[in-house]
């Protein structure tokens, strides 16, 4: 419970800084489904209205599943230091975020950990999502 209280407190503290984005986080993602995906970076789309990068995840049976990881617009990411050049095909990424409400292999990439330990914020600015 304390962790939930802390999260709620941080959420409320950040409420004033929320701004409008392309669409609401809650229209696309389920905040009750926090997930971690670890896989090999297979493709990058540095595009508007969102950037996408795709990671291939291999399960215990050797089956490869591709996950689409949605992040903010290129300009927003770039201004916070999340540059396109930091994403290198073949790297192993650890992506933490929330799963799409419709069950697709699509997630909101709130936190991205690179092989060297750098942590990037992929959140879409002002989408009302978890801060």
């Amino acid at each position: 419970m304390p962790s939930r209280l802390v999260l709620l407190a941080l959420l409320l503290a950040s409420a004033a800084g929320r701004v409008a984005a392309h669409h609401s986080f809650a229209a696309e993602f389920d905040a009750s489904k926090a997930i971690r995906v670890t896989g090999t970076l297979a493709k990058v789309e540095w595009t508007n209205p969102h950037t996408y990068f795709y990671v291939d995840v291999t399960d215990e049976k050797g089956t490869v599943v591709r996950w689409a990881c949605e992040s903010g617009a290129p300009g927003a990411l770039s201004r916070r230091g999340f540059k396109r050049s930091l994403l290198k095909l073949g790297d192993t990424l650890i992506v933490d975020g929330y799963r799409a409400k419709n069950g697709a292999n699509l997630m909101d990439a709130r936190r991205v950990t690179l092989p060297d330990g750098q942590v990037l914020s992929g959140a879409s600015a002002g989408d009302g999502g978890p801060q």
Partner: protein, 281 residues
């Protein structure tokens, strides 16, 4: 130890732990400004004709709450919907995706309630508002302009400006009634919408708008929405944004904005925490 102290201590520990993670956010400039820290008193710039010059890159303030809600200035943010307005809201919530998410112009008054910055360039007979998502509106204020008898419906409406002293008044009619949300929360407006914006620049670092919203089809009475923006840095400006370049998310969006929090903003109240950060090597 009191529950409040426990909470503060826990928050401090959480923040300290979080601070140890090198998340790259320090370089990002805020999209909203704390108005208590914005200097006041420097006179507003003026055009050669003596009228205030609204030109600049304008950011919302953190004092504007709730953001994105056109009912911000109403008690409990409760909009005076007619039965037809209630039905339109239900339709927006259950059968439409956010028009902006599928690259449709937000229009007025939605852009005035948005948290996104915008840029203004002003001429002698016309003023341009440029918004994120590469939308813009051009408002003429040549003396003597009148509304058309039957304007073509549009997202910004047929806009006519005029000066009342140092106040720029923009009167708009002729709005679309489909694929429009009046704010981020999916509230509706009809084609009977009439909007009167009164823009002022009280000092160098601020502009204000008082917006009158009349829509007898969907609202039982007119209501107002007031807002202040603060001036951004001189090197900030609207950036390129091609909304339909790669709109993968459009196929995954649910109807409506999702849940609305008790504070009047869109989003979840109690999201699940992310997995714990990866330990540093």
């Amino acid at each position: 130890m009191s529950p409040t102290r426990i909470l503060l201590a826990a928050a401090a520990v959480a923040c300290a732990a979080f601070a140890a993670i090198p998340i790259l956010v320090a370089q990002e400039r805020p999209m909203q400004l704390d108005d208590t820290k914005v200097p006041k008193g420097r006179p507003a710039p003026r055009m050669a004709n003596g009228k205030p010059d609204f030109s600049g890159y304008w950011k919302g303030t953190t004092q504007t709450r709730p953001g994105g809600n056109i009912g911000k200035d109403l008690p409990g943010w409760k909009l005076p919907l007619t039965p037809a307005g209630e039905a339109a809201l239900k339709h927006n919530l259950t059968a439409t995706v956010d028009p902006e998410a599928v690259c449709i112009i937000g229009g007025i008054p939605r852009h005035n309630a948005s948290g996104l910055p915008f840029e203004v360039l002003q001429g002698n007979n016309k003023i341009t508002f440029m918004y994120w998502y590469s939308y813009f509106r051009l408002v003429p204020f040549t003396p003597g302009l009148k509304h058309s008898d039957d304007p073509d419906p549009s997202f910004f409406g047929e806009e006519i400006g005029r000066w009342e002293g140092d106040t720029l008044v923009i009167d708009s009619i002729g709005f679309k009634d489909e694929k429009v949300w009046i704010d981020e929360n999916a509230n509706p407006h009809s084609d009977a919408l009439h909007v009167v914006e009164r823009w002022t620049r009280p000092d160098y670092n601020h502009i204000n708008v008082e917006t009158l919203i009349e829509d007898p089809k969907f609202y039982t009475r007119s209501f107002t929405y007031a807002r202040t923006w603060a001036l951004g840095e001189p090197d900030e400006q609207i950036q390129e944004y091609s909304c339909s370049e790669n709109n993968v998310d459009a196929a995954h969006l649910g109807f409506g904005p999702g849940p609305i929090r008790p504070d009047g903003t869109r989003g979840y109240v109690d999201p699940a925490p992310l997995p714990p950060p990866v330990p540093k090597k």
